[in-house]
């Protein structure tokens, strides 16, 4: 069953006051209209990131909603509805119920999802760990190919870009097709989860994948576009059927009359629901990088990391860089790995230009569309104090 609604996710409504604030927020210049004119979105350029939506002073920008389809699936007894929740949701969902930003409502969130009628409550963080396994190994192979280890000649070029952010992927496809071989072929955690849920989990749970309905709770509006991409059918079905934003989940919880704050803390279901700290930080700019370094370092060096925190990749600056010296067991020498983190799609152009011109010294580059990472995504609670 396909739930294609429209791939044009973000829309400016009639409530637009023509204030022109959004055009400065849009990373791709997709919003048309001068000061005083009603604005509209050029969907060819739009990467569906929703930054305009959360920054509109008048709440005049909206995202296409799949909430009705999800409610229908929940009400359908023949469907096994499986839900996954992204890391950034659990530190922002509480804001919709009066808590401070950053308040951890992980346990209450799982409890609320069960009470909403989801049959299996899993965690996108599991898929984030899976992403690290695949993407990290891919990076290792590319580095091996680069330093001339035999047997890895077919690996892609360096630097490798991350592939978790669907806004970044669409931007690269639209604007820089030449950079595509540099992007990790690993799917985003959301899509890995969908593919694994309808194959591995369906087998284990003894469920016909045709009857399985995969919903993801995302801090992101671009994920709504990603799940509808035509190639995301590896399981033989649309891998992820519907995406709800943090805001939409909060609304569903409120509509269902659930007293969120008084819920007990529950855990995600086992099988594809357990996670690690490395997966948790996927929601922060620099997090995918740090998670990849934790795993790549240990696999390459064969040594256990004493301190798992790579503080040098953390921070809020739009472009950050760091060098990590990794002793590579197979080579018998230490290789400095240069990494770069881009937070805010506006800033990626210069990094790409450097790579295309052969000037880039980096091995691994993380790109996230939203300033600060997924925790500031277009699907997160709208704050009056946004910038």
């Amino acid at each position: 069953m396909s739930t294609v609604v429209t791939k044009e996710i973000i829309h400016v409504t009639d409530r637009c006051k023509s204030c022109d604030h959004c055009t400065s927020v849009c990373p791709t210049g997709a919003i048309k209209g001068r000061l005083g004119e009603k604005h509209y979105i050029d969907h060819k350029k739009c990467v569906n990131c929703g930054q305009c939506l959360i920054n509109c002073p008048f709440g005049a920008i909206v995202d296409m909603s799949m909430a009705e389809q999800v409610k229908k699936a929940l009400a359908d007894p023949s469907k096994v509805v499986v839900v996954q929740t992204a890391p950034a949701v659990r530190v922002a969902l509480g804001e919709e119920f009066g808590l401070e930003p950053g308040a951890n409502v992980k346990g209450k969130m799982f409890a609320a999802l069960r009470r909403l009628g989801f049959d299996k409550v899993y965690d996108t963080e599991f898929a984030a760990d899976l992403t690290i396994m695949e993407e990290g190994t891919e990076l290792i192979h590319r580095i091996f190919a680069h330093v001339g280890v035999p047997g890895y000649e077919k690996s892609g070029p360096l630097p490798q870009f991350t592939s978790c952010c669907p806004a970044w992927i669409k931007y690269a496809e639209d604007r820089y097709p030449k950079i595509l071989p540099h992007i990790s072929s690993a799917k985003s955690p959301q899509q890995m989860f969908g593919a694994v849920a309808k194959t591995y989990a369906a087998q284990k749970l003894n469920v016909n994948p045709a009857d399985m309905y995969v919903v993801s709770i995302m801090p992101c509006t671009a994920k709504k576009y990603e799940c509808q991409r035509e190639e995301m059918i590896a399981s033989g079905f649309q891998d992820v059927d519907a995406v709800l934003t943090t805001r939409e989940l909060a609304q569903m919880i409120k509509d269902a009359g659930i007293n969120f704050l008084s819920l007990p803390d529950e855990k995600a279901d086992r099988l594809i629901g357990s996670s690690t700290g490395a997966a948790t930080i996927f929601g922060v700019t620099g997090g995918v990088m740090e998670a990849a370094l934790r795993t790549a370092y240990e696999i390459l060096s064969g040594q256990s990391l004493g301190n798992v925190e790579f503080k040098t990749v953390r921070g809020r600056k739009p472009i950050r860089e760091a060098t990590v010296n990794i002793p590579i067991k197979e080579l018998g020498k230490t290789v400095p790995v240069n990494v770069c983190i881009v937070s805010g799609l506006k800033y990626v152009n210069e990094v790409i230009e450097d790579v295309l011109a052969g000037r880039s010294k980096y091995h691994f580059i993380e790109v996230m569309n939203c300033p600060g990472g997924c925790i500031n995504g277009g699907g997160q609670p709208i704050r009056r104090d946004t910038y």
Partner: protein
């Protein structure tokens, strides 16, 4: 009939020019503002489409700001006197406010206290216009020039303050226009600001008795 003959020069040429500039700007700003706040396309089209209308709005805003500013710099004495008058409230002013100067039909006004160059109502209007214009300026320019850097909340705040100040100003100015140009008791003043600057001494001795007494003393 009274014995007082002659005329009083109430508003100088520069004051009148400034008033005209402000008046014209105010009308353009009000029209374009109403046009895009309420999405009235016909008003926008009057100024060549919505983007042009907003261009007209912001640049008229510049003139609206600079006009009085230049006036104040070159006519500081007049400005200082004006400010002194409109910020001084005595019991005569409160007396005027109690009877509303006899302008409101259902309030009895047997005795209206003598008034300065501006009566209490005009003083309040003056203060409203000054405070209102400052608010319009401090919210208007950021919405135009800082719209990219301001956080959403500030854009929203400026918008709300700009709108409600505009509502108050437009209502105040409509009242001002009615009394100064239409009301039979006071419309003789129309010419003093809009044309030659003069009012009848006879009229002034009634309506602005305290000021007229000062002028006579100075003679």
């Amino acid at each position: 009939m009274s014995e007082i003959k002659g005329k009083v020069l109430k508003h100088s040429e520069q004051t009148r020019t400034m008033h005209w500039i402000h008046l014209i700007c105010f009308i353009i700003l009000g029209l374009t503002g109403i046009g895009f706040y309420f999405d009235i396309t016909s008003i926008d089209n009057l100024f060549g489409g919505s983007a042009n209308a907003s261009n007209v709005h912001v640049w008229t805003g510049v003139v609206f700001t600079l006009g009085p500013l230049i006036y104040v710099l070159f006519n500081f004495e007049k400005f200082a006197k004006f400010i002194d008058t409109i910020t001084t409230f005595t019991k005569d002013d409160f007396g005027w406010l109690k009877t509303m100067g006899g302008y409101v039909p259902f309030i009895k006004a047997e005795h209206i206290p003598p008034q300065d160059k501006y009566n209490a109502g005009q003083k309040i209007l003056g203060l409203l216009v000054i405070i209102g214009c400052i608010l319009m300026i401090v919210t208007g320019f950021p919405m135009w020039l800082l719209r990219d850097t301001m956080p959403a909340i500030l854009v929203w705040l400026c918008w709300k303050v700009h709108f409600w100040t505009a509502v108050i100003l437009i209502l105040a100015i409509l009242g001002h226009f009615f009394l100064a140009a239409i009301h039979p008791k006071s419309r003789v003043e129309f010419a003093s600001m809009m044309i030659d600057g003069y009012v009848d001494a006879e009229y002034t001795s009634h309506h602005n008795a305290k000021w007229f007494a000062q002028l006579k003393k100075a003679e």
